[in-house]
């Protein structure tokens, strides 16, 4: 980092262990003070995170707690890069002559030294590592007892994204070391097959550390392991056996058909097709040298033997025996706790943050406080904080990574401190919109690391002209409006809905969404469906909701998976055959491709997007329907929302439309539609079968948002604004405007327990 660029970055960052807590519960915060400077900690309630001079301004209510104070600052490292750790055991101890082998699918063979499987001590430089050398060739490295390092390389650069059988052997008695690199596909004029041998004097140095797969060991760092030489790519069926095997014996080992006389020599033979949903990897040898995933490499990946006959790993785990490692995977940063807050009993439900400050640098670590008990809460409305969507966008890098970013927005992106920090600290991991350093898509996103674009004050390149807010900070427009209007409204998170189902909504009559609730797990969907079925009212104050299916992990908290399957607006595409979530076994991807378009939930679903300026709605004849009279009380304008902080209008960024064939109920009223969007707006790709000219905002009728209302069979109702920019118009003219009035009219009627007519 050059000195000047550093001045624009952040010098203090942190995260919390929980995202949602109730009064009386504890929440801990982990902080890295990048210059080891002491810092001040305090807490705020977040009401409005938009600092635009054109709006109501920043509203962060300062709070006083016993936790407030000055803390000793320490820099804490985010140790990115995934691997498997297998604890040392007697079965490994005293290893002298051995064979190590695996199937590999390297993705960055030219990036420098990488370790595929190692029992290596990076400080003492002893043990062995089968890996890739600086030539991009498979290499066996032996560190002898004198600390001298010997290497034998195939000398043939690997071809990226092709399968190879690789092995290394070492015979302590003769000092003979060999390496083998066998491509599974052959290409003309491509010399990527090789073997080599060397004689090594001395004995292999002892190593009492663990075996790592996907990296090599350096040292313990508290409860964490510092590793290096991270490998990018897949590994399938790694094995370690004492003694030097012949090529034919290696083949017997690979096919798990060892002759009896060799079975007793087997030290470990891992099968990654077992326990795909778990964080444990299983050794099928009698030694049971099971390993544990660190930083969550991707499972449910096609193996070397994938036949293409089966797309679901659960039906053919033997063909999904690969794990894909990335040198920038991050799960739990695992930092030391800096301070812990017991949430005061008098804190009302809402958005809060721990605020840490050192000099001019500061960071906010947001969290949600729920009501003590939803069943007894005064509030009958609840705001569903779309934390799944925040996690998906967590630490997104598109303006600095993706050539299409400036085309999508029609603007030069503005980078905040947070973006600059993330640009140069790739070890903080990416979002599910990013690609890993090897070009493969990021399927897993964790909140157990600083998420720097989930902050009040943060402006996003995706947030349109003007305030430029997106996701978390954009949703404070809704929080602020509720506060300004004096509505009692609790907050819960997507994770609460996921883990508790409809019980999390007990006692509430109205659920308000955020501006962009895009990511939904199956339990979340079912929970909201059940809420509607019992007459609950839904106010969808955004767009592009219920789009991607996501999965939370059964045993690893705070991490979420998406598979960018065969359709939809995708920043990357999952490999064919890798569309099933590894965390749950569900078919992943778009809910629409699972037979549940968003129109089935909200009456409207994703239709178009663009990120420059917003437009307005024009009333349609359905707005005159007497069933909609309450919505337009006090609103005589034909044009709605031709103002706002997000792009200058209430219809913008992402737009949803009604479509009976996609599940919009037949009784749905389309009250108003947006029009006159710029040509930066394009129809979503799932609507395009044969591609054709004329799919942009000035020409195509699918580039529109439909504001809709419909009653549900249980006497409840749904109102959908169908535009992400809607929330940015609420505060215009001191909250006195037609967007605010419509939203208020709907919320007041939805809070009225009188059933809507259904006959």
């Amino acid at each position: 980092m050059n000195a000047e660029s550093k001045d624009y970055g952040k010098r203090i960052v942190g995260y919390s262990d929980e995202i949602s807590v109730r009064p009386g519960q504890d929440i801990s915060f982990m902080v890295s003070s990048e210059d080891n400077a002491d810092y001040q900690a305090s807490f705020v309630r977040i009401i409005h995170g938009d600092c635009s001079p054109d709006g109501p301004g920043l509203k962060l209510e300062k709070l006083t707690t016993k936790t407030d104070g000055r803390y000793t600052g320490q820099r804490q490292e985010c140790l990115g890069g995934s691997f498997i750790v297998v604890p040392n055991s007697e079965a490994i101890g005293g290893l002298d002559s051995f064979t190590v082998q695996a199937m590999i699918w390297p993705t960055t063979p030219d990036k420098g030294c990488q370790s595929i499987i190692s029992h290596w001590n990076g400080n003492k430089r002893t043990g062995f590592s089968l890996g890739i050398d600086s030539l991009g060739a498979v290499c066996l490295r032996i560190g002898d007892s004198n600390g001298k390092v010997h290497e034998v390389s195939s000398g043939k650069p690997l071809v990226a994204r092709e399968w190879y059988f690789v092995s290394g052997t070492f015979d302590q008695k003769t000092g003979s070391a060999t390496v083998l690199q066998e491509p599974q596909a052959s290409f003309a004029l491509t010399d990527d097959s090789g073997n080599n041998s060397a004689t090594i004097s001395g004995t292999m140095g002892d190593d009492t550390g663990p075996i790592l797969i996907g990296a090599s060991y350096v040292e313990k760092l508290g409860t964490r392991i510092r590793a290096s030489e991270h490998y990018n790519g897949k590994v399938d069926g790694p094995a370690l056996i004492s003694g030097v095997l012949s090529r034919s014996e290696m083949e017997r080992l690979r096919s798990r058909n060892l002759p009896d006389n060799l079975k007793r020599n087997l030290i470990a033979h891992w099968d990654f097709g077992l326990g795909i949903k778990e964080t444990v990897v299983y050794d099928t040898s009698p030694n049971k040298l099971n390993g544990t995933l660190v930083n969550m490499p991707t499972r449910g990946m096609k193996g070397y033997n994938w036949s293409g006959k089966e797309m679901n790993w659960a039906n053919a785990p033997g063909e999904y025996g690969a794990i894909h490692f990335h040198d920038d995977d991050v799960y739990d940063a695992g930092w030391d706790i800096d301070f812990t807050l017991t949430v005061p009993s008098d804190w009302k439900s809402g958005l809060y943050a721990a605020h840490v400050q050192v000099g001019e640098h500061n960071d906010y670590m947001p969290f949600v406080v729920r009501a003590n008990s939803s069943a007894t809460s005064v509030a009958k409305a609840v705001f569903l904080v779309p934390t799944a969507s925040y996690m998906s966008y967590a630490n997104e890098h598109l303006p600095t990574d993706a050539p299409l970013a400036q085309l999508l927005t029609g603007q030069v992106p503005v980078l905040d401190q947070e973006d600059i920090f993330l640009l140069q600290n790739r070890n903080y991991g990416g979002s599910q919109y990013d690609t890993h350093s090897d070009g493969s898509g990021v399927s897993y996103s964790s909140r157990l690391r600083p998420i720097l674009n989930m902050r009040p004050n943060y402006q996003s390149w995706l947030g349109g002209y003007g305030s430029s807010l997106w996701q978390f900070n954009a949703d404070t427009h809704i929080i602020d409006w509720l506060e300004a209007k004096g509505f009692e409204c609790d907050c819960i998170t997507d994770e609460d809905l996921h883990y508790e189902g409809v019980a999390a909504l007990e006692g509430y009559d109205v659920l308000l969404t955020g501006s962009h609730p895009e990511y939904w797990s199956d339990p979340m969907w079912k929970g909201l469906d059940a809420f509607k079925e019992r007459g609950g009212r839904l106010m969808y104050l955004g767009a592009n909701g219920w789009y991607w299916n996501v999965a939370y992990h059964d045993t690893a908290p705070g991490i979420m998976e998406v598979r960018r399957g065969e359709d939809g607006i995708r920043a990357w595409a999952a490999e064919p055959g890798e569309y099933y979530n590894s965390f749950t076994g569900e078919y992943g991807g778009l809910w629409r491709r699972k037979g549940k378009p968003p129109q089935m939930m909200a009456g409207t679903g994703f239709s178009a997007q663009g990120f420059d300026i917003s437009s307005y709605f024009r009333k349609l004849p359905d707005s005159e329907n007497e069933r909609a009279t309450f919505i337009f009380e006090g609103v005589n304008d034909e044009i709605i929302g031709d103002f706002g902080l997000i792009g200058g209008g209430a219809a913008g960024l992402e737009l949803d439309r009604a479509d009976r064939l996609l599940g919009t109920p037949p009784n749905c009223l389309v009250l108003a539609s947006s029009e006159n969007h710029s040509d930066i707006y394009l129809v979503v790709c799932e609507e395009i079968l044969i591609n054709y000219p004329g799919i942009t905002g000035q020409e195509n009728e699918l580039v529109r948002a439909d504001m809709v209302f419909y009653e549900t069979p249980a006497g409840g109702a749904v109102f959908s604004a169908s535009s992400i920019a809607w929330a940015g118009s609420l505060s215009h003219n001191n909250y006195s405007n037609n967007v605010s009035q419509i939203t208020e009219n709907v919320l007041r009627r939805f809070l009225d327990p009188t059933l809507f007519e259904t006959d």
């Binding site: 600095t400 030069v412 980078l415 140069q424 420059d612």
Partner: protein, 101 residues
């Protein structure tokens, strides 16, 4: 990456259109030029740094490789429109070899 060829003489009037309205609905001809500018590869691509929110922005370029430090430039701006116009001029010169000054 757009293959459209910008002709300095033929398209110069579109620069005026851009200057009057840098963000928003553009003529199809101007949009083609902007697609060239905005769709370029990442190495050296121009971005803005927020110095003071809604008040001051500074010009910068991305480095050659992903993760490289930003290259900070001297120009600062007090409106987004001013910044957009400056970057438009830089890109115009890059693609046409001619100055819009």
């Amino acid at each position: 990456m757009s293959l459209f060829k910008i002709d300095a003489e033929k398209h110069r009037h579109l620069a005026d259109e851009f200057r009057k309205n840098p963000v928003g609905i553009h003529s199809p001809a101007l949009q083609k030029i902007l697609n060239v500018f905005r769709g370029s590869a990442m190495a050296g691509k121009y971005v803005l740094i927020c110095v003071k929110p809604h008040q001051e922005w500074r010009l910068a370029q991305l480095g050659q490789e992903r993760g490289d430090p930003l290259i900070l430039k001297d120009q600062s701006f007090h409106s987004i429109e001013e910044a957009e116009w400056e970057i438009f001029k830089i890109r115009w010169q890059h693609y046409t070899g001619e100055s819009l000054q």
